[in-house]
């Protein structure tokens, strides 16, 4: 009995204690769920910041994350990205949500209009919910005091008032519109690609007023010395990209169709490699305009034409790394067979890579490629022309002749870039 009494006493005591605890927990629950919700929105904001690739532009080489200072060579001069940490003085910590919304959707900061190097022309498609999540994330980044570098932009483009006029004719805020005849995955992919992915900023040619030309959506454009690829579904399907190929390329930086390089490398490294499986499939569904799986075709190698003067150049300069039959070497150099850099209407990028090479690119501790040397000083213009033509005619179905003028055009493109 004593034991029972004790037991009862104990039980009652525990119940009493627990009921108090329960009451406390219950009283804290709204706060707890609020905290969890805030965390959730910040985490989502961080994911969205990855998709927006904010860090790639808003961090300088060897600089701290989001402190800006990365130079952009534009036709108007050199622009420098800005500090977007939560520092209230030099960053954007003093922004209200309205300020942040205006920057993302209208290209307006509290200090004036932003240059459209900041892709508000794409970000404006963001939903309010996603804009808020991003705001929450950026207001809680580590504040770092670092003053912005002044832009080196020539007259009249240094007058920011002109940007207001540019916005009036070239930019309109608007919501993303789903297409009801397409799948949810396709629409989600389009939203990622067009809004935060801001793919069109490089891959869509620009009009005379430097706005993205909707008539040439994703048809490819030369930017900073290289050609951002034609990524229309027609071209990607012609090149036989599969969903897996695109996912591998976006996650690891390379695929059986070759590697990313130039401006696309940081996109993969800082942004697309963070895509969830589901979002990755959505992106490839939209880019390929196909929800279904795609059959992989063999990579092209038409055999060597030993009479072609490009054959000796290939064997002397390329085969050591890319393989005698263009099969490539794992973690050294990509395959030439069916390589998407060669397999395109224009020889521009093939020439650009031969001239300038590709820096060493590492994607993880277990994968990467060694740098490719540039041959602008080693090979003559005629040799570059011959080699480009040989690579394209041997490893792709492209039969268009490459001219000396094609090579000169790429050289001139590099020469015209402002030094920074």
């Amino acid at each position: 009995m004593i034991r029972t009494n004790d037991h009862f006493h104990g039980l009652r005591a525990i119940t009493k204690y627990h009921s108090k605890l329960l009451a406390l927990v219950l009283s804290l629950l709204p706060m707890g769920s609020l905290w969890a919700a805030e965390q959730d929105i910040k985490n989502r904001g961080e994911y969205l910041a990855h998709l927006g690739d904010c860090v790639a532009c808003h961090s300088a080489p060897n600089g701290r994350k989001f402190t800006g200072g990365l130079p952009f060579a534009t036709p108007f001069g050199v622009l420098y990205s800005t500090n977007i940490t939560s520092d209230k003085e030099t960053g954007i910590g003093h922004y209200s949500y309205e300020d942040f919304y205006d920057a993302m959707h209208l290209g307006k900061s509290p200090k004036g209009n932003l240059y459209p190097a900041m892709p508000y022309t794409s970000y404006h498609l963001l939903t309010d919910e996603d804009t808020k999540a991003l705001y929450e994330y950026f207001m809680n980044t580590t504040p770092i005091k670092q003053k912005n570098k002044p832009n080196d932009v020539s007259f009249p483009f240094n007058i920011r008032f002109g940007l207001k006029a540019w916005n009036a004719i070239s930019h309109e805020d608007g919501q993303f519109q789903s297409q009801s005849n397409k799948s949810d995955a396709w629409n989600r992919g389009k939203y990622i690609v067009d809004a935060l992915g801001h793919c069109g900023e490089c891959h869509t040619p620009r009009t005379n007023t430097f706005a993205m030309n909707p008539q040439q959506y994703f048809q490819g454009a030369v930017i900073e010395g290289y050609e951002a690829s034609n990524i229309t579904p027609e071209e990607l399907n012609r090149q036989n990209w599969t969903h897996d190929d695109l996912a591998t390329l976006f996650r690891t930086g390379y695929s059986r169709k070759g590697t990313v390089f130039a401006g696309m490398y940081p996109v993969v490294y800082h942004s697309f490699s963070y895509l969830t499986e589901e979002d990755m499939r959505s992106v490839s569904t939209y880019l390929l305009d196909n929800d279904a799986d795609i059959t992989e075709k063999p990579l092209t190698f038409k055999g060597h034409d030993k009479q072609h003067p490009g054959y000796k150049l290939y064997m002397g300069y390329c085969a050591g790394c890319h393989g005698q039959d263009g099969e490539g070497k794992p973690n050294v150099s990509p395959a030439m067979m069916g390589n998407a850099t060669l397999d395109r209407a224009s020889p521009y990028n093939a020439i650009a890579v031969l001239l300038k090479g590709v820096p060493s690119q590492h994607y993880s501790i277990a994968s990467g490629f060694y740098k490719m040397p540039g041959y602008e000083k080693t090979l003559t213009t005629e040799e570059i022309r011959t080699l480009t033509e040989y690579l394209r005619s041997t490893f792709t179905e492209q039969t268009k002749k490459v001219s000396v003028k094609d090579v000169q055009q790429v050289r001139e493109g590099f020469d015209a870039l402002p030094a920074h």
């Binding site: 000796k312 064997m315 002397g316 050591g320 060694y370 080693t378």
Partner: protein, 178 residues
């Protein structure tokens, strides 16, 4: 089979000789000419141990990695390997080393020696560039780093190689200005 290959190696005419398609230059040096001073390291162009000097007919010299370069690349050109830098007498006996080789010995720059021929060629090419275009004394270390930075050494490290090259550049008249 590839077409006949003809070149000059260490001032000696080589060829015409018929070689198989896709033969890498390092295999040509080893298997056809018994010039084994050029070492095969990574086989992927990373370590630079296999570097030789190519003197092109237009007067430009360049350093080339032989493990990733086909023999066709060297056809018709003059090539220098580690075997060709020392001075020799009529009996082909070595009478004096190149100053870079001497400096590497004096600085104990190498241990196993696998990377040494690559360092020797790269450093000699650098000295020859500076003869044509001298640099400021303050820039010497950076120029050495730029030239030798891709060469991998797994034994004694890089300091003694770099110190030796710096020594040669500073002590040789005409390579630097203040």
């Amino acid at each position: 089979m590839s077409q006949n290959i003809k070149m000059t190696i260490n001032d000696q005419p080589v060829g015409p000789v018929e070689v198989p398609d896709g033969l890498m230059m390092i295999d040509f040096l080893h298997e056809y000419l018994n010039l084994t001073g050029t070492k095969f390291g990574c086989g992927a162009g990373v370590c630079h141990a296999c570097t030789v000097i190519v003197d092109k007919s237009n007067g430009v010299s360049e350093v080339v990695r032989t493990c990733i370069s086909g023999v066709e690349r060297f056809n018709g050109h003059a090539v220098r390997t580690v075997e060709g830098h020392a001075e020799r007498n009529d009996k082909n006996e070595i009478t004096a080393l190149n100053p870079i080789q001497t400096a590497f010995l004096e600085h104990f720059s190498f241990q196993c020696g696998w990377c040494t021929s690559g360092f020797v060629n790269e450093a000699i090419a650098l000295v020859e560039r500076l003869e044509k275009k001298p640099i400021a004394v303050n820039d010497v270390e950076q120029v050495i780093e730029d030239a030798l930075g891709d060469h991998v050494c797994r034994c004694t490290g890089y300091v003694k190689y770099y110190a030796a090259v710096k020594d040669v550049i500073l002590k040789t008249e005409g390579l630097t200005h203040s």
